[in-house]
Symmetry: C2
């Protein structure tokens, strides 16, 4: 894992801001990448934000704003006057403008929409219709688009006119007269052909690589990854080209969705924010973790109840206490492994609905093998090593008998926990929940209870208690 | 999360292969994207692989091969004759060729290297020097490169000559006479300027956006993400331009690294393979999970030992058993949350070495607040709800006393487990281990032991047992 070495210009900028040296700040910011400016902004004390924004000005601030966590957006916009905001919003690409407007309150959104030119306002309002986490909500409409029946010269002239308002000319898309997507081009295909070549003759046809505007953003990102695309066309149900998801959006989506999965699996709730770990307040951290923790604590009382009811067995055969935490914990560990595997595979689009029973059957067998392995280890441990410790056993009880009871309980617990760990995320999806809501701690809490019941029941039956 | 709907051409292809209809397979494959061909290949029975590869031919197979999991590469290459392999390797880009040669055995690698032309062989050997998971190991050397002192016309002529061997012209890099990276261009910058403009005048300078060939691949991917790049230049220590990491490589790297983190956190060992979940054998799954499970089972016996030693307390005050599993589990849950948060933040490059104590201090406070919350909940539960159940208590003991003992033990356990959960990944990094080796189950196993000790010690002290 990389260390983010602080780049010297960043340090210099921070010192200039602390010293309130406006001309130095302005000169340094001119040279720096907006991602680095955003990093500097987040490291600043809040009272310096205003000075920083005003010094770099609305045009430079626009690009930086896109890189800031959602929660800092509205405060930053408030630093500017309406006429500065007009400049700022004009500087933003259509998809970034929409992202930013989605991060501010309803009242502010309406106020900011009023500052846009009529054309931009209409476009922005139409994009705001799509949910933030859909392909439509993430797409840019500023795309290189030419018609199939144009010549290379006509196409180049058209692109030249729209040059400034286009996000990427790395991929140019070809539509028919009705605006339906039929092919794509690279800029060099135009440059390396004669002026009168028809676009239709040099375009490449597009296969399945497109996504519906209403599709989940994760589907779009997975498709960009699968087909190694720089930009994925977004279409409506009639295949009209609406916009593009670009490679950098896809990377952000993947990073967000992975972090979200990781956090949910660990039982951390709430929205995954764009905030970095160190920029999140402790209160937010507390809130996101407290929910699951409290809920699961009450579930664990069920385990305690089972233990209290069967506790007399432990005082009859003290040795049984030695294995109780292990049997219980083994279920939580293996159940958590199984659910994690299945959740990640679902996120990557590897498990479709038809495969549900195939997955369950795989995990049932994997669980059984793991259970047999652990059971045998512990049985061996009991008969080979424990005799050296001279534990007191009740009359008629042997270490061999205890070994059998532990092995049977452990195998049952591990098999059932693995099976359950794989089934719960699949079940969550079947009822249209995000599979990742089935966190590893939740599975552990459930199989803790079943583990206690299994252990005491098996011990009673086999040891005749 | 998306469902991978089977696309109709894929079904058609599968049927054609089953029927051994070579001309239909060939025609369908011609139309399909190589990522879809790779998917079809993996869904086929093994005995059909040979037929499929021979039918689509080495040129088409080359692109498909790149998308296959590592373990299938060598078998697929063996389907072709030496003369077919020459065609196949010529078809591959330099970085893909290196990737593929890294996936086969030593003997096969030497044999395949002998099939390359002298120029390709030398290039491939020089790239094979870099570790697979470094920037140098992932880069392509087929880049658009022009000199600062050329005119636009000279630059375009040079690019036109190298067009076919260049992976992307979306970004063109500018070097000085010594090959040192100094700027970049987009193709359209050349196209929209007059022939005699010097490249130096229209290039944009490059800031910190470059990576050393020996740097970790994750560092390269994070930089592409941070700076929204299509391609990141890879340089040596003297800033000579060696190659590029492209956006699609970066996405793959991020996806692999995220999956690796997720699996490690869940206590799943071994190399993260490129295999999909359903294509992994049960034996592989078993092996990757068994290691941690078995190790942790023996750690859990320590918990059992503590329980056995202090077990008499439970038979004196049965009620204490009700809270034991909860106190223990709460530590595992909160410790796992803390380590997951910290591991993910480190992966994303958000925590540098200087921040170690800042993180530990944050988590200590978060843990304390979570502990106080849980402790209060359980104390309230004990004094408000438990009186309705009429539990037997020894003489002189009150529910209020039990409530205090539980609250104190729980707060101590949660605070220490959270603190430990954040410290262990930081400590792993300090001794140059991957922080993600500190899996959530490992933390749970450790704090299970400490939880038992805390609970029994506190109960003894407060209840005077």
């Amino acid at each position: 894992m990389p260390d983010d070495e602080a780049t010297p210009p960043l340090d210099e900028l921070m010192r200039a801001i602390e010293a309130e040296d406006r001309s130095a700040v302005s000169a340094l910011a001119e040279e720096m990448h907006y991602a680095d400016l955003a990093q500097a902004y987040q490291e600043l004390d809040e009272e310096k934000h205003h000075l920083f924004l005003k010094t770099i000005g609305p045009a430079k601030a626009a690009d930086m704003l896109v890189e800031l966590p959602d929660s800092l957006i509205e405060e930053a916009l408030d630093a500017f006057s309406p006429s500065e905001l007009k400049i700022l919003f004009r500087e933003l690409s259509d998809d970034d403008r929409v992202d930013i407007l989605q991060d501010v309150g309803e009242e502010a959104r309406l106020r900011f929409l009023g500052l846009l030119g009529p054309e931009d306002e209409e476009l922005t309002r139409s994009l705001l219709k799509y949910e933030h986490d859909t392909a439509g909500g993430r797409m840019t409409t500023r795309i290189g688009r030419v018609f199939a029946n144009q010549t290379v010269k006509q196409a180049v002239d058209m692109l030249r006119r729209s040059q400034e308002s286009t996000e990427t000319l790395s991929r140019i898309f070809v539509v028919d007269q009705k605006g339906r997507l039929i092919g794509k081009l690279r800029f060099r295909d135009l440059a390396f052909n004669t002026w009168d070549t028809p676009v239709r003759d040099i375009m490449r046809e597009i296969g399945p690589e497109r996504v519906l505007a209403t599709a989940d953003q994760e589907e779009a990102a997975n498709m960009l990854l699968k087909y190694d695309l720089i930009a994925l066309p977004v279409v409506d149900e009639f295949d009209h080209l609406l916009g593009l998801i670009t490679h950098d959006d896809a990377m952000e989506i993947m990073q967000e969705e992975s972090t979200e999965d990781i956090e949910k699996i660990a039982g951390i709730g709430g929205e995954q924010s764009e905030e970095t770990y160190l920029n999140t307040t402790i209160l937010t951290q507390f809130r996101r973790r407290a929910g699951w923790l409290t809920g699961l604590a009450f579930v664990s009382i069920l385990s305690g109840y089972v233990m209290m009811r069967f506790g007399s067995i432990l005082s009859e055969v003290f040795l049984l206490a030695l294995f109780l935490p292990m049997v219980v914990a083994a279920g939580g560990n293996t159940g958590g492994q199984a659910s994690t595997m299945v959740i990640r595979a679902m996120s990557l689009g590897e498990i479709d609905h038809d495969a549900t029973w195939q997955v369950a059957w795989r995990e049932l067998r994997t669980g059984l093998f793991l259970g047999l392995l652990l059971g045998s280890c512990m049985a061996l441990f009991t008969v080979v090593l424990l005799p050296f410790f001279h534990f007191d056993l009740p009359a008629g009880m042997t270490l061999a008998k205890v070994a059998i009871a532990v092995a049977v309980a452990l195998t049952t617990q591990v098999t059932s926990a693995t099976f359950l760990g794989s089934l719960l995320p699949l079940g969550a999806r079947a009822v249209r929940l995000d599979p990742a809501v089935v966190s590893a701690p939740a599975i552990a809490a459930i199989v803790d209870v079943s583990g206690m019941l299994i252990y005491f029941t098996v011990a009673r039956a086999i040891l005749g208690l």
